[in-house]
Amino acid sequence: MTNPPNLDHLKKFCSQVRRDIVRMVHAVNSGHPGGSLGCTEYFAALYQHLMKYDSSFNMTGENEDVFFLSNGHISPVFYSTLARSGFFEVSELATFRKIGSRLQGHPATEEGLPGVRIASGSLGQGLSAAVGVALSKKLNGDNGKVFVLMGDGEQQEGQVWEAAMFAAHNKVDNLIATIDYNHQQIDGPIAEVNGLGDLRAKYESFGWLVLECDGNNLEVLINTLEEAKEKSGNEQPIMILMTTEMGKGVDFMEGTHKWHGVAPNDEQLADALSQLEETLGDF
């Protein structure tokens, strides 16, 4: 068991990460704030409470918990969390999406950004990679867990289901996958674009243990992640269907797909920042 969560710290962390997200995308007038804001609690919970890791970073992550971001477009929340968890200097967030930066539009390993283990952006590939690392941990007798986050729209990619089938068949039970279930994709509500049906039933029928939670409620989310960790190692991969609100924390961005991949203008930035307390110092 991990120590009880320091909710006060986590809330402050989330507020600062959200400030980072809107400031990063505003600075380059591009990037994906909606999904980033919606998943802020998840990243804070993983990197500030749940995962066991070494921020000096080595690629193999042996004897550590490792995380893969499959929906790479929410890189702002990933980068902010990594920087504020000690993987690299917070000041480097200012280079996001600029020429020569290690903080590419979508995560990449090429320039050796600590914390990133695989490139993602073209959707549907992260679950397979997470399965691969989980297998390597089993071969090595390493007890670390493998976490992976996917988008809900990403469930439309066929490779996800190839990996889901394999993970259950091969009892990859050191794997804790999560779907950011915000019901939105670029072209609109998922139910209108290409509905996912009953995701819980789908994963259960594939042989996964499925948990559900509110991904914007820190206490509930942490309890669910802890439960997932406790239930791992029982011959089943685990899926958390994490309901979130796209754009969470900035009122005019909440609950719509319109801020999936659009940056705020100067006025909107000021409005957003007025809603988010600066707790750990802006970059």
């Binding site: 390993t109 090429e110 993602s120 590939q125 990679a129 690392v133 390597s136 071969l139 490779q159 394999f166």
Partner: protein, 318 residues
């Protein structure tokens, strides 16, 4: 016709891969194997039997196989994936690009049944674009060995090499003539020395080039035959050294004319020393069902095609 190199036995190049993988895996416990429901066809049974805990049967799900391989490599393993060449490349190109090449994963993509010599299965399976696709990806090494021995040697060599590799081999029994030849990635092998024309061949067509040399020799033409087993990185030094002597070139490969070995050689020639070059390759067409030898002849990849292209190249020297 008396060829300068000879063989007593034919064997499939894929068996060279299977035997090489088993040998490499005995030496290095980090080697793991993945297969997409073609274990027998890829000759991976020996590895599977000897190291069941290091073998992953992925089923008919090649995209997932490439992703899992990338993950295993992230965890410090050396994954060898095995499936047909078309399922190793065109089917999974985005996975090769993002999860393996761009992410710099130490994955060995091992591909059998490449080219027309797959034979009767026809064009759906006869991938003729795979060298082009893989050589275009930054970080990838691309190797197309010519016989059983060289495929085995190449398999052992890529196990020692760090970085993504595409290893291409095939299905039919083929002359074995490279026993005890040293293999170094990126180092071309001059098989026959000559002075009138340089024939640069890869894969199964290396043997055809050896036969073509014998035909040319009977006609008083001295051809140099060079085995380019590694298309990327290309041994430019060996190519330039040979053409500076012969003054013209022929490339020979079981691949589309676009994107293949010939195109890489042409780039080298254009940038360094402009000499005539002729191409023995498939001319922007799909293949069809048939016997390997029939197909090679029909699509312009036979011994006679190499002979004629060599004469044409020599003539163009003026």
């Amino acid at each position: 016709m008396k060829t300068k190199l000879t063989y007593t036995e034919k064997k499939d190049t894929r068996s060279g891969f299977g035997d090489g993988l088993l040998e490499a895996a005995k030496k290095n416990p980090n080697i793991v194997g993945l297969c997409a429901d073609l274990t027998g066809s890829l000759k991976m049974n020996g590895f599977q039997k000897e190291f069941p805990e290091r073998f992953f049967q992925v089923g008919i799900a090649e995209a997932n196989m490439m992703g899992i391989a990338a993950g295993l490599a992230t965890g410090g393993k050396i994954p060898f994936t095995g499936t047909f060449a078309n399922f190793s490349t065109s089917r999974v190109y985005d996975q090769l690009r993002q999860s393996i090449a761009y992410s710099e994963k130490n994955v060995k993509v091992c591909a059998s049944h490449a080219g027309l010599t797959l034979g009767e299965d026809g064009a759906t399976h006869q991938v003729l674009e795979d060298i082009g696709m893989t050589k275009m990806l930054p970080n990838f090494t691309v190797i197309n060995p010519c016989d059983y021995h060289q495929t085995k040697a190449a398999t052992l060599a890529i196990a020692e090499h760090h970085g993504p590799v595409y290893l291409r081999f095939g299905r039919p029994g083929w002359p074995m003539f490279m026993e005890n030849q040293p293999f170094e990635i990126g180092k071309a092998i001059t098989l026959i020395e000559g002075t009138d024309v340089s024939i640069f061949a890869t894969g199964h067509l290396v043997w055809k080039a050896i036969e073509a040399e014998a035909v040319l020799a009977e006609q008083g033409i001295s051809a140099e035959v060079i085995n380019i087993h590694t298309i990327k990185p290309l041994d430019e030094e060996a190519i330039l050294k040979s053409i500076s002597k012969t003054g013209c070139a022929v490339s020979a490969e079981e691949h589309q004319i676009a994107g293949g070995l010939g195109e890489s050689i042409a780039q080298t020639i254009v940038r360094n020393n402009l000499v005539p070059q002729e191409f023995v390759a498939v001319n922007d067409q799909f293949g069809e069902s048939g016997k390997p030898e029939e197909l090679l002849d029909k699509y312009g990849l036979g011994v006679n095609d190499i002979v004629e292209k060599a004469k044409k190249a020599i003539k163009r020297k003026g």
